[in-house]
Symmetry: C2
Subunit: 245 residues, 2 copies
DNA sequence: CGCTGCCTTGATCTTCTTCAAAACGTGTGG
DNA sequence: CCACACGTTTTGAAGAAGATCAAGGCAGCG
């Protein structure tokens, strides 16, 4: 029996397969299809195919032809952009119900970033062409897609602002707050961020180096704002962190 | 008669009003409505109202209720985000045919950024509610909106990557290349960026200070990559700049 | 028990910001 | 047409924030 110390839950330890009931449940929760009648939903569901991935698996690479749209059924996905200098920038972490891949309805494009399974994972995929037909046939789906993209654009602009104008400390505090709000679950140690999160990845999210991330995290820990361990962080004082960000 | 030295064209010097012919012409060129039949286009056109602005005028402020969607008919708009520390971050510069404001189809939200007339300007506006109806009635419009947002999101992610991983020099070179490609017109001095562009604004676009922007611009000028003056920059060696970015 | 990554901490160095002041270009009013 | 006044641009020097280089410590896992 493997001894696990990390408080972060391990998702889908044994199986990466999604049962059919999970599929309908997930699709129903996706903002895209929330407004659809059950019959329509079952129809749309038939167009999706499911795929399992292990932690670290590459779903697609930047530059690959953008053939599909994906919806996260379970697990977490990270979208990464590689620089010529070899360092990685972590753009987004996606939780179940969120979509990524080719949302554009035009053809012949390539993915602008790389998608990697952050945890064990189950994805629902649909071809870009089929998705285009779904959107054309169901106007509410298009509206939902617009809303989702508009929200992501606002978040990206927020990130641009933080990177332009904030200190490393502020960016890390802000990122931890956002992660805790999105993925946090209450534990005795505080709001535990349900994600294997190394100092290196935190650095990639905030535009700094591993060393700086480590220093700032240590500082926050000493100030009692967070609890930390190997690959995990829990937020003990959310208001305190927000004040710094 | 005021003598003008800047090589940048002055748009709409006298009138900020758009004639009705210009309106149809502009709406027809907007990706949103490009696929619409002329009759439908005239119908949609009737829902828009036009407004003129002078340079520096505020179109809306961050936090205002997000009531409208705007399309640039003539002139340039800049989207700005203010920080608590008082500095501004310039998120995007929009040219004729581009849309901004509330693209979301949900109600009761607020603008996440401030929109300012960068030059004299003519805008076409439509209420969020009316726009929602247009989108619901014309699926191609929704598809176009998705495409536009997807493209802007990719650009924003690119910006995040540059801010996270690049030097000030690289970011400024990249920004100048992008501006030249988007707004450049061939002149004897090279590709002139059709935009009153101060060092300060360039700094706000690239996440640095006025002084650093000035130093880098001077360096590029001495290297023969660009020509500069007060409030304007022309790119003389696009390939050279791209190599730096 | 020891190996492999991850995390931490220190010292040094580079980049960029900050503060300050001078030079310049542009449009204005004489 | 010229000189003045304003905002922009430039340049210098000092300082801070963070990157880089280097080494040691610790936890998890076989």
């Amino acid at each position: 029996m493997p001894r696990r110390k990390s408080p972060v839950d391990q998702e889908w330890v044994e199986t990466h397969q999604c049962s059919i009931t999970v599929r309908l449940d997930v699709l129903g929760r996706v903002p895209f299809f929330a407004g659809l009648a059950p019959a329509k939903l079952r129809e749309v569901n038939a167009l999706f195919h499911e795929t399992g991935y292990g932690p670290g698996d590459v779903i697609y690479r930047a530059g690959d032809p953008a053939a599909r749209l994906y919806v996260v059924a379970s697990g977490k996905v990270k979208l990464v952009q590689h620089t010529l200098a070899g360092q990685d920038v972590l753009l987004e972490v996606l939780a179940p119900g969120e979509a990524f891949g080719n949302l554009s309805t035009l053809g012949d494009e390539t993915y602008p970033h790389t998608a990697i399974a952050h945890t064990a994972l189950c994805l629902l995929g649909i071809g870009a062409e089929e998705f285009r037909r779904v959107v054309a046939a169901h106007p509410p789906v298009a509206l939902a897609a617009v809303d989702m993209l508009a929200e992501r654009l606002i978040a990206a602009h927020e990130q641009v602002q933080r990177l332009s104008a904030g200190s490393a400390q502020q960016r890390i505090a802000y990122t931890l707050v956002k992660l805790a709000q999105k993925l946090g679950t209450p534990r005795d140690v505080g709001l535990l961020i349900q994600l294997p999160l190394s100092r290196d990845e935190l650095a990639q999210m905030t535009g700094t180096t591993t060393e700086t991330a480590s220093r700032v995290v240590s500082q926050f820990r000493k100030a009692g704002l967070i609890r930390t361990g190997r690959q995990w962080i829990a937020v003990a004082d959310l208001a305190g962190l927000e004040a710094l960000a």
